[in-house]
């Protein structure tokens, strides 16, 4: 008998995902992934400076509905503010000027350059907002499970999950190697040259150790029937309603139709 595990009782794992009850949390991860893909296509393929900002406003509204606006803003602003500053600065000063420049504090700025910077900032903001909403509402385990349920090959879901989990392991090992080398008198602080010199005794054991581990890991996977052909099963099952599959198709059709109309209409 199939047992459906609701997301609220799925164990939480170290990721950026927050706990919540809004619709963004309840959607199947594959549905969310499709909607993010649509948002990225719309943000980057629709010409003009305002469509990305319109999309961004819609995403901010969706975040507010799911009580995620503050969390989203905190993460987004950290990335977007310095990026926007450089975009406006560089394109304002160096973009090709077709019309009369805009003079600000005695500096001539290109109107076209500022509009381009506005468009790019909007596109990046919309893309980041969509991606962050996905990350904030989707535990990695759910994503892997959903991908697996939709027929993604086990090797691909394995690579995603293992990469996410093994990175902290590698960081821990690098820290341990660093400590060991320092304990043996190696200086890792100080001038740039000294730091560069210290890099090799840190990186080499890390890389070689990881390569040795790969062999054992491969055996461990083989021993647990990872490559055995035939149908697979899953301990958990995520809800995957037909309505969400329809939503995905509809979103894809509307996105592609909008792009076609805008470009060739």
């Amino acid at each position: 008998m199939a047992r459906v595990v609701s997301r609220s009782i799925m164990p939480r794992h170290p990721s950026l995902a927050l706990a919540g009850k809004g619709i963004a949390f309840r959607l199947n991860p594959v549905t969310k992934l499709t909607l993010v893909g649509c948002a990225l296509l719309l943000a980057f393929l629709i010409p003009g400076w305002w469509p990305p900002w319109l999309l961004f406003t819609a995403l901010a509204g969706f975040a507010q509905i799911n009580r995620l606006l503050t969390a989203l803003a905190k993460k987004l602003l950290k990335i977007i503010l310095p990026l926007a500053f450089f975009l406006f600065f560089i394109h304002g000063l160096f973009y090709h000027q077709a019309s009369a420049p805009l003079t600000l504090a005695g500096v001539d700025l290109s109107r076209e350059g500022l509009l381009f910077a506005l468009q790019m900032t909007g596109r990046i903001s919309a893309a980041l907002a969509a991606s962050l909403l996905f990350v904030l509402t989707t535990p990695t385990a759910d994503l892997m499970l959903a991908l697996s349920q939709r027929g993604t090959p086990a090797a691909i879901t394995y690579i995603i999950g293992a990469t996410l989990q093994l990175i902290p392991q590698l960081q821990a090992r690098a820290a341990a190697i660093g400590d060991a080398q320092r304990a043996r008198g190696m200086e890792t602080d100080g001038s740039l040259l000294r730091r560069i010199r210290a890099l090799l005794p840190l990186v080499l054991p890390l890389v070689l150790g990881s390569l040795v581990d790969v062999e054992e890991r491969a055996i461990a996977l083989e021993a647990r029937a990872f490559r055995v052909k035939g149908p697979k099963s899953s301990l958990h099952e995520l809800p995957d309603p037909q309505s969400e599959r329809l939503l995905c198709r509809l979103a894809l059709i509307l996105t592609l139709a909008t792009i076609v109309v805008v470009w060739w209409g």
Partner: protein, 297 residues
Amino acid sequence: MSPSAPPLDAHPHPAIEVVDLHFAYPHSPTAALEGISLSVAKGSFIAVLGANSSGKSTLCHALTGFIPHFYRGDFAGRVRIGGLDTTTRSLDELVQVASLVFQNPLNQISGAKFTVREEIAFGLENLGVPRAEMTRRITEVMDLVGITDLADRSPFALSGGQQQLLALAAMLVLRPQIFVLDEATSALDSAGSRRIFSLLHQLSRTGMTVVLAERKLEEIAVHCDRVLVLDQGRIILDGPPRQVLASPRLEQCHVGRTRYSRVAERALTFGGWPVDRSLPVGFQEAVAGFLHLGSKR
């Protein structure tokens, strides 16, 4: 594990049959295994002893099919596990008969699962075991190994000993006919080791064949049915623990002796051990020997 396992004498073929096995790793001037011949009855609990580089790990890999399928090299002879010839059958088939657990528990964690329960399920998912059956088996094996309270913890957040227990559970849940452990209790404390030895003994009594490369001689003396000693890739001793662990040849091949043998040997020098008794290998024999001497005085 299954209480309904058929009696041992109902199986005409040995669980493991090795005939004149020779194996040398590529670019190695010497053979890792040479002239190994071995027949292991179903439901046996066998310990493999030997110094470093004596061939224990290589034998473990050969008994699970990873040699010659994973480790290529100069292979000769025949190995049959559960009636399957390891040279002609695919590794996919062989891993469903024999399971291998090795020393470093961290490398046995799949890395793709986020809780202990999910990690144990990994192999069952790969074999397509139905969810209800999977849940039942996971609960059973966690209870058996004693990690039920860790079920929802991340495998990476466990101690080395707990990870070792997880590695054991993750293989035991597959219910292999042959269970091979290559120094798999090294990360466990003495109580944990005792518990695992006792569990393996219990599993062997239900029909699972257990082969264990180990160094814990005291536990081997108590729980195993048979002990093999390897030296430079060859079997130099093969017999019941009582006989093999008392052999002076163990010292020669750097395996050592049980602490009871060492104590009795020391006692013998000042008349503290009866001269007419052979050295003990286990605790009870040692106690009996000392009591016997005490009663004579």
